[in-house]
Amino acid sequence: MNKNEQINKNQNRIIAFSIFAIAMMLTIIPFPEFITHYMPDWGLMALIFLSINLPKEFNLSTAFFVGLITDVIKGTILGQHTLSSLIIVFATTKYHLQLRSFTKIQLLANILLLSILYHFILFWVNGVAGVSSSLESYWAPIIGNFIAWPIINEILSKYFIYNTPKKEV
């Protein structure tokens, strides 16, 4: 039993690590100019998914590191993406049971709200630090997140199957 748990934990770590690596690579890849505005926040999507589904293993410390790496990749002020990821992941971890019980549409509505909050914090930090940004860079990724989440959720859920026996719940 304990051994099985250990194996599962390691497996989870490997899968999660590769998910984050892919998310970071997607963040680095340059896309054509007309679409760059609308690129979803891959790191945030991965963080939300993992913190809802594996909150004990991936919560705030993961959010901290992923946010920090995003800061370095995007060349923003260190701590900007970190802070906003932390706040989002705090919410998703705290309410992961509620979020799991939501229907897909409800979950999507929540993701929309969370990404608005995420970008509001980024926007706000930019404003305080005097970094100029456009209005489009604020709302366009939110649309990207809204479109990308169902796909990301579908793909990750498929390869990230939950096989907790129902009677043990």
Binding site: I28, P30, T36, V72, G79
Partner: protein, 280 residues
């Protein structure tokens, strides 16, 4: 491979709120310190080194295709020779840029005595490995870092003109800011008559704003802006932009001038780092 979801028997995550407070304080600390001082450069450097493999992985497909293309077209010797010649050509072009502006200087009989020894600027070729995905931050990452002698404020050029400068230099890579970034300004002068001003980026690759030209100034469409050498960052005489439009509104104190950058800001893959710092 299949991962297993947490069981629901113990849904509470231990010490979530205190962890949250701890990390929020930590990131607030970083936010406050990052722009003010240099304490966090080590952190930035180490993360940059850690993600270097990912960056090279992302860049690998285009590099492999380039490589195959070269192999198919010609033999190894030819490739090597061709590459050296291309590099040499770029260096020559840079020197030529300087000659054009010096010639102008001579024509106006304003040659400065020490102009001759400002000709020999050494350059080093670097490759862009990634660009910023945020359209309002025109920053790029290049494949040379502190290890190769890249320093903060170093000038970036392409074959045609000034591209920008180095923002941070990490150990293996460096981050550069382009002249079109909305937070970037570069001191320039009109090559024809020496009128000094500042060219400010506005987030568009094809346009720079020249905000402080008085209404009665001598400026025409097609005038070339070259770096003026003031401000201590950019050496003088490198082409920056060409005047594209001039709008004069008598109610305003200044003309609305926009200029087109000479360098191919969003098309270059290889760029040049000027070895020497400013010459003033």
């Amino acid at each position: 491979m299949v991962a297993k979801k947490d069981d629901h028997s113990r849904p509470r995550i231990p010490a979530l709120t205190s962890k949250f407070l701890f990390f929020v304080i930590l990131s607030a600390f970083m936010l406050i310190n990052d722009q003010r001082n240099d304490y966090l450069s080590l952190l930035r450097n180490s993360i940059a080194i850690a993600i270097y493999p990912l960056q090279s992985l992302v860049e690998a497909p285009s590099r492999i295709s380039n490589w195959i293309e070269k192999r198919v077209v010609s033999r190894e010797m030819l490739i090597e020779e061709n590459k050296n010649l291309q590099d040499q050509e770029k260096i020559n072009l840079i020197t030529l840029q300087r000659y054009a502006s010096l010639e102008q200087e001579n024509m106006r009989l304003r040659r400065i005595l020490d102009a001759a020894d400002r000709l020999n600027h050494e350059v080093e070729i670097a490759r862009i490995i990634s660009t910023n995905s945020n359209p309002y931050r025109h920053t790029i990452t290049i494949n040379k870092g502190i290890q190769d002698g890249v320093f903060e404020g170093q000038v970036l050029l392409d074959a045609d003109g000034v591209l920008g400068q180095i923002l941070h230099s990490n150990f293996l890579t460096s981050e550069g800011i382009l002249i079109s970034d909305a937070d970037h300004a570069i001191p320039v002068q009109i090559n024809r008559n020496g009128l000094r001003t500042i060219a400010v980026g506005n987030g568009s690759f094809s346009k720079l704003n020249i905000p402080y030209i008085p209404n009665n100034a001598d400026i025409e469409i097609g005038d070339l802006f070259v770096t003026s050498g003031f401000g201590g960052k950019f050496p003088s005489g490198y082409p920056v932009a060409e005047v594209e439009s001039i709008i004069s509104d008598p109610a305003e104190q200044f003309l609305t001038v926009s200029a087109k950058p000479i360098a191919q800001l969003n098309q270059v893959r290889e760029l040049m780092l000027l070895r020497t710092a400013s010459d003033e």
